[in-house]
Subunit: 99 residues, 2 copies
Protein backbone atom coordinates (compact mmCIF):
# COMPACT_ATOMS: atom_id res chain seq x y z
CA UNK A 1 0.00 0.00 0.00
CA UNK A 2 1.20 3.46 -0.84
CA UNK A 3 1.76 5.91 2.01
CA UNK A 4 -0.14 9.17 2.15
CA UNK A 5 1.78 12.18 0.82
CA UNK A 6 1.41 15.38 2.86
CA UNK A 7 -0.76 17.61 0.62
CA UNK A 8 0.87 20.73 2.06
CA UNK A 9 4.23 19.60 0.71
CA UNK A 10 3.06 17.71 -2.37
CA UNK A 11 2.61 20.93 -4.36
CA UNK A 12 5.49 22.07 -6.51
CA UNK A 13 5.98 25.63 -5.26
CA UNK A 14 5.46 24.85 -1.57
CA UNK A 15 7.86 21.93 -1.87
CA UNK A 16 10.43 24.19 -3.52
CA UNK A 17 10.11 26.76 -0.72
CA UNK A 18 10.50 24.18 2.03
CA UNK A 19 13.35 22.44 0.20
CA UNK A 20 15.11 25.79 -0.13
CA UNK A 21 14.56 26.72 3.52
CA UNK A 22 15.74 23.31 4.75
CA UNK A 23 19.01 24.06 3.01
CA UNK A 24 19.53 27.67 4.05
CA UNK A 25 17.43 27.72 7.29
CA UNK A 26 16.07 31.20 6.55
CA UNK A 27 15.72 33.37 3.49
CA UNK A 28 14.20 36.61 2.29
CA UNK A 29 11.07 36.66 0.19
CA UNK A 30 12.92 38.13 -2.80
CA UNK A 31 15.56 35.41 -2.65
CA UNK A 32 12.90 32.68 -2.54
CA UNK A 33 11.03 34.36 -5.39
CA UNK A 34 14.16 34.40 -7.51
CA UNK A 35 15.08 30.79 -6.74
CA UNK A 36 11.59 29.42 -7.37
CA UNK A 37 10.79 31.68 -10.33
CA UNK A 38 7.32 32.20 -8.85
CA UNK A 39 5.13 35.29 -9.10
CA UNK A 40 4.99 37.40 -5.94
CA UNK A 41 1.25 36.78 -5.64
CA UNK A 42 1.42 33.01 -5.86
CA UNK A 43 4.48 32.86 -3.62
CA UNK A 44 2.70 34.96 -0.97
CA UNK A 45 -0.27 32.59 -0.99
CA UNK A 46 1.89 29.48 -0.67
CA UNK A 47 4.05 31.01 2.06
CA UNK A 48 0.89 31.83 3.99
CA UNK A 49 -0.26 28.19 3.68
CA UNK A 50 3.11 26.93 4.92
CA UNK A 51 2.94 29.37 7.83
CA UNK A 52 -0.58 28.24 8.74
CA UNK A 53 0.60 24.62 8.69
CA UNK A 54 3.35 25.60 11.14
CA UNK A 55 6.10 24.57 8.72
CA UNK A 56 7.69 28.00 8.45
CA UNK A 57 7.87 31.23 10.45
CA UNK A 58 7.45 34.54 8.68
CA UNK A 59 8.96 37.79 9.98
CA UNK A 60 8.20 41.19 8.48
CA UNK A 61 10.41 44.19 9.24
CA UNK A 62 11.68 47.38 7.71
CA UNK A 63 15.30 47.55 6.60
CA UNK A 64 16.46 50.94 5.32
CA UNK A 65 12.82 51.93 4.88
CA UNK A 66 12.12 48.88 2.72
CA UNK A 67 9.76 46.15 3.93
CA UNK A 68 11.53 42.84 4.23
CA UNK A 69 9.88 39.46 4.67
CA UNK A 70 12.01 36.66 6.04
CA UNK A 71 10.96 33.00 6.08
CA UNK A 72 12.46 30.42 8.37
CA UNK A 73 11.91 26.67 8.53
CA UNK A 74 10.48 25.37 11.83
CA UNK A 75 11.26 22.11 13.57
CA UNK A 76 7.77 20.96 12.58
CA UNK A 77 8.58 21.83 8.98
CA UNK A 78 11.80 19.83 9.06
CA UNK A 79 10.01 16.79 10.50
CA UNK A 80 7.19 17.08 7.92
CA UNK A 81 9.69 17.36 5.07
CA UNK A 82 11.63 14.31 6.26
CA UNK A 83 8.42 12.33 6.59
CA UNK A 84 7.32 13.44 3.13
CA UNK A 85 10.64 12.45 1.54
CA UNK A 86 10.49 9.04 3.22
CA UNK A 87 6.91 8.44 2.02
CA UNK A 88 7.75 9.61 -1.49
CA UNK A 89 10.68 7.22 -1.76
CA UNK A 90 8.17 4.40 -1.89
CA UNK A 91 6.75 5.89 -5.10
CA UNK A 92 10.15 6.55 -6.64
CA UNK A 93 12.19 3.48 -5.73
CA UNK A 94 10.19 1.20 -7.92
CA UNK A 95 12.69 -1.62 -7.87
CA UNK A 96 12.63 -1.80 -4.10
CA UNK A 97 8.96 -1.28 -3.35
CA UNK A 98 7.23 -3.09 -6.20
CA UNK A 99 9.37 -5.90 -7.49
CA UNK B 1 16.34 27.23 -10.13
CA UNK B 2 13.91 24.42 -9.52
CA UNK B 3 12.93 22.20 -12.42
CA UNK B 4 9.30 21.91 -13.47
CA UNK B 5 7.52 18.83 -12.12
CA UNK B 6 5.24 17.05 -14.60
CA UNK B 7 1.72 17.88 -13.31
CA UNK B 8 0.37 14.60 -14.71
CA UNK B 9 2.70 12.67 -12.41
CA UNK B 10 2.85 15.12 -9.49
CA UNK B 11 -0.50 13.94 -8.14
CA UNK B 12 -0.50 11.24 -5.52
CA UNK B 13 -2.83 8.68 -7.08
CA UNK B 14 -1.52 9.04 -10.64
CA UNK B 15 2.03 8.76 -9.34
CA UNK B 16 1.10 5.61 -7.42
CA UNK B 17 -0.46 4.06 -10.53
CA UNK B 18 2.55 4.80 -12.71
CA UNK B 19 4.99 3.70 -10.01
CA UNK B 20 3.08 0.43 -9.70
CA UNK B 21 2.96 -0.14 -13.47
CA UNK B 22 6.66 0.64 -13.88
CA UNK B 23 7.31 -2.23 -11.48
CA UNK B 24 4.89 -4.81 -12.86
CA UNK B 25 4.57 -3.56 -16.49
CA UNK B 26 0.85 -4.29 -16.59
CA UNK B 27 -1.88 -4.81 -14.04
CA UNK B 28 -5.63 -5.20 -13.73
CA UNK B 29 -7.83 -2.38 -12.51
CA UNK B 30 -8.84 -4.31 -9.38
CA UNK B 31 -5.20 -4.97 -8.48
CA UNK B 32 -4.32 -1.28 -8.89
CA UNK B 33 -7.38 -0.31 -6.87
CA UNK B 34 -6.33 -2.60 -4.04
CA UNK B 35 -2.70 -1.43 -4.07
CA UNK B 36 -3.55 2.28 -4.16
CA UNK B 37 -6.55 2.05 -1.83
CA UNK B 38 -8.41 4.40 -4.19
CA UNK B 39 -12.12 4.49 -4.93
CA UNK B 40 -13.13 2.99 -8.28
CA UNK B 41 -14.47 6.36 -9.43
CA UNK B 42 -11.36 8.35 -8.65
CA UNK B 43 -9.09 5.65 -10.01
CA UNK B 44 -11.06 5.56 -13.29
CA UNK B 45 -10.66 9.32 -13.69
CA UNK B 46 -6.92 9.26 -13.02
CA UNK B 47 -6.36 6.25 -15.32
CA UNK B 48 -8.19 8.11 -18.07
CA UNK B 49 -5.87 11.13 -17.57
CA UNK B 50 -2.79 8.92 -17.73
CA UNK B 51 -4.14 7.30 -20.88
CA UNK B 52 -4.81 10.69 -22.50
CA UNK B 53 -1.26 11.74 -21.66
CA UNK B 54 -0.01 8.62 -23.43
CA UNK B 55 1.64 7.28 -20.28
CA UNK B 56 -0.40 4.07 -20.10
CA UNK B 57 -2.44 1.86 -22.40
CA UNK B 58 -5.82 0.59 -21.27
CA UNK B 59 -7.38 -2.63 -22.57
CA UNK B 60 -10.93 -3.71 -21.79
CA UNK B 61 -12.04 -7.27 -22.38
CA UNK B 62 -14.38 -9.89 -21.01
CA UNK B 63 -12.93 -12.80 -19.06
CA UNK B 64 -15.45 -15.47 -17.99
CA UNK B 65 -18.23 -12.97 -18.66
CA UNK B 66 -16.66 -10.44 -16.34
CA UNK B 67 -15.32 -7.16 -17.72
CA UNK B 68 -11.62 -6.76 -17.10
CA UNK B 69 -9.59 -3.59 -17.49
CA UNK B 70 -5.86 -3.95 -17.88
CA UNK B 71 -3.40 -1.07 -17.68
CA UNK B 72 0.07 -1.16 -19.14
CA UNK B 73 2.88 1.38 -18.92
CA UNK B 74 4.04 2.83 -22.27
CA UNK B 75 7.55 3.77 -23.30
CA UNK B 76 6.44 7.41 -23.08
CA UNK B 77 5.22 6.74 -19.54
CA UNK B 78 8.55 5.23 -18.53
CA UNK B 79 10.47 8.20 -19.93
CA UNK B 80 8.12 10.68 -18.22
CA UNK B 81 8.47 8.88 -14.90
CA UNK B 82 12.27 8.84 -15.12
CA UNK B 83 12.31 12.53 -15.98
CA UNK B 84 9.95 13.28 -13.09
CA UNK B 85 12.07 11.33 -10.62
CA UNK B 86 15.21 13.14 -11.79
CA UNK B 87 13.54 16.56 -11.46
CA UNK B 88 12.13 15.71 -8.06
CA UNK B 89 15.53 14.67 -6.72
CA UNK B 90 16.50 18.34 -6.84
CA UNK B 91 13.73 19.10 -4.34
CA UNK B 92 14.55 16.17 -2.10
CA UNK B 93 18.35 16.08 -2.03
CA UNK B 94 18.63 19.33 -0.15
CA UNK B 95 22.24 18.86 0.82
CA UNK B 96 23.31 18.49 -2.79
CA UNK B 97 21.16 21.08 -4.51
CA UNK B 98 21.03 23.89 -1.99
CA UNK B 99 24.11 23.91 0.18
Amino acid sequence: MFKELDPILHAQLRLAVVSLLIGVKEAEFTFIKEKTNATAGNLSVQIQKLKEAGYIEVTKQFVNNYPQTTCKITQQGIVAFEKYVAALQQYLNVSESQK
